[in-house]
Symmetry: D3
Amino acid sequence: MHLKRAFYIGRFQPFHKGHYSVIKTIGKDIDELVIGVGSAQRSHETPNPFTAGERIMMIRHSLADTDIKHYAVPIDDIQQNAVWVSYVTARTPPFDIVYSNNPLILELFEEAGIETKQPPMYHRDKYSGTLIREKMIAGEDWEQFVPEAVTEVIEEIDGVRRLKNVSGSDQTF
Amino acid sequence: MHLKRAFYIGRFQPFHKGHYSVIKTIGKDIDELVIGVGSAQRSHETPNPFTAGERIMMIRHSLADTDIKHYAVPIDDIQQNAVWVSYVTARTPPFDIVYSNNPLILELFEEAGIETKQPPMYHRDKYSGTLIREKMIAGEDWEQFVPEAVTEVIEEIDGVRRLKNVSGSDQTF
Amino acid sequence: MHLKRAFYIGRFQPFHKGHYSVIKTIGKDIDELVIGVGSAQRSHETPNPFTAGERIMMIRHSLADTDIKHYAVPIDDIQQNAVWVSYVTARTPPFDIVYSNNPLILELFEEAGIETKQPPMYHRDKYSGTLIREKMIAGEDWEQFVPEAVTEVIEEIDGVRRLKNVSGSDQTF
Amino acid sequence: MHLKRAFYIGRFQPFHKGHYSVIKTIGKDIDELVIGVGSAQRSHETPNPFTAGERIMMIRHSLADTDIKHYAVPIDDIQQNAVWVSYVTARTPPFDIVYSNNPLILELFEEAGIETKQPPMYHRDKYSGTLIREKMIAGEDWEQFVPEAVTEVIEEIDGVRRLKNVSGSDQTF
Amino acid sequence: MHLKRAFYIGRFQPFHKGHYSVIKTIGKDIDELVIGVGSAQRSHETPNPFTAGERIMMIRHSLADTDIKHYAVPIDDIQQNAVWVSYVTARTPPFDIVYSNNPLILELFEEAGIETKQPPMYHRDKYSGTLIREKMIAGEDWEQFVPEAVTEVIEEIDGVRRLKNVSGSDQTF
Amino acid sequence: MHLKRAFYIGRFQPFHKGHYSVIKTIGKDIDELVIGVGSAQRSHETPNPFTAGERIMMIRHSLADTDIKHYAVPIDDIQQNAVWVSYVTARTPPFDIVYSNNPLILELFEEAGIETKQPPMYHRDKYSGTLIREKMIAGEDWEQFVPEAVTEVIEEIDGVRRLKNVSGSDQTF
């Protein structure tokens, strides 16, 4: 029995309904989904407030109401594009196909001889990590854009307070 | 609602029935288990034949017959003990307790103020990664020591052939 | 006998009278001060002309006229905020309190359960590393903004010439 | 017999006629030339489309019609200027002189006590890596600016297609 | 005014009376001493129980009863001998001479054109980090081999308990 | 026109007549040879006395009396076997076949789908880096085992003196 596994990657800062929707769509075509949590080493920054562990928890709890078998795996930035595909495949279960809308990721996997496919785009103007983080900082309603499980995780870790605090920083000291 | 999460780490080269048994025991006391896959960056060596991704797959498929909610997360060796605990916690969901029989791991988490507990020991003389790898190389029966799902994964990746090949190497060239 | 130790960090490019003034104020409340020399691995750049070793020498010689017991310790950028606090504490004597005006640093130490305090701000418009480096490049008077010991160190290493040279570079080749 | 060796470094994205012309000039004064291929770890990016290996091949094939004895050596960015000279000299044959027009490189080697010299500038407005890459992306004629051997290498690796693809990426995902 | 500065390096696990005695002797010939704390990134291991910060504190407090102006600087292992000297000099104040009995260190600094000198050997059979750590583990008297200030530091951090705990570990898990 | 390129790797500490003989044999079947200089970051150690740059020079000068078109490229140890093949291919011109007698290297390239071939073994008991280094240290005749060009390089860099010095070191301080 060979399982059909796919790979999908994002930064998930935070995991939102756009991601959720894409994954639900991909899930129909495959047996198992490997979800890469990109820029895993980054956290406590305006564009990357949450740790990899926190993002993994968001994903797992959000997908608990689906029957999609998935793996969430942290992937650090390694800044060596030519090595990146094998870096990813070394820490993930073997997969047959990559779903992405990012031209660089598509190029890298295609050069490596791995099949790629562009998933249907969710409404990127509506569901956007950048927008959600801005709303968190401004104290506006952001909960509507994320699965309920993500709201719970962010509350558990007091994530909005953290983001507000670090967004006041110039990141250099 | 606060979930009780625990952390347990191993190299899982490969994941065997001893690991399985310990996790079943731990699982009774907690809501979710974070499983660290140690020495994640290593593979294709006699003591570390399998990649982190392959080991994650072994764990997930083996535990599919249980109802233990778990996360399997690759943890690279960083060779800086004083930084190791925060390296782990940055890539894992928050946990309340660490289960380990390793004195170094116990010491590091205790110095960090995290509760630790020693799980019941499985029969280490019977279930041992070293022993299983030796049997693989020697062409003896190793399948009895691992969950059936692990046998399937190792067959899918042609793992015994790989181990035999690299075990003939002196690792320097 | 427990000594009260505090931590204070800066890039000190170069160490100036604003830093000196803050340290004098902090020094009144504590027994020993650990001074982190940030971005330690950087030098020979317009925003970071001096090596960690040169900056340590500036600090030590400037504080020689005080009775503040202090340690000056190089701290490299590690680009992993979630690990940074333990990276710092591993290479510094244990401290009880952190003095900083930087929101990120305050957040990171507070999440780690370490007490923080904002020192009185010196005149940041007057004493500014950026301003001092600009004056060095422009050939204007910069010596008035730094302790005399810093002027001597910069002369010993021919630092103004170095800064002028590297500031003409686009840093890529 | 002591050979006179010189060092010259560039990113060579791609190697063009300006580089070729400078090297021909330098070659008259020396016995052997060590050519550093800078930012070696970078590839598959708009400003750095080609791997170090591909750039080494461009250099070697382009200089095949000269009698300049040369070594092409990949040099990674290490982001520690104070260490950079010894990093370079550890992976290159010993050299007596450095040719460069870059102020930072001149400063670093001069502080290390190594002789430097500014080669005659080629027409930087005419021969520019940036310009050539822009022409590749725009589908305009770029072949006139590079040695014929470079055109062949880029065709062998399908380099223009790669650059077009990755230039559509925002490099973050 | 040019100060005569010297460099001396050790692992100082822990700092003992042999180190103290050598430094007192060196101190007579120089104005300032730069003390490198080697293998700075290591701790919580049988051969390296103490962090760099703890070792710095041992040195500073032990030398408080002398008038030797000194800098204690953590030096990580970088495993690239050809780069090591410039790595050290980048994080230390400029020095004129290196005191060492280690052939590798002498060779590296001599190849870099820096003067070296062998300090008088202390009784290595009597004062030895290895011996002191063995006595700590065995519960024997070790305090007689270290300055009183070191005993105080080790008590403050509960260092003997830590060493006993980690020495029971096989360092792999 | 597609050139047939092969890859061959060694540590070359130093480059000896066994290596020379294998390369001459391989050279008959191919157009260009890429020679990886392994453990490139190591030097000044008993098993690795020479820098990558020095080893590159040995190779190039030794092969000057052949008509084998070759590239000598430093390859650092990266300690991640699953990533190693793409690390190598990113810094080398594209090659079609790998020549090696090392089981690990054969396995890694075969898993990556690259053709491998075992070259005829030279007399490993006669031509051995270990043996040559032992003879250098003992002051015995080693020159007979290396190409004349290698003797010249080692004399130019005073390599035997260096090896003797560092071989007296225990490599820890």
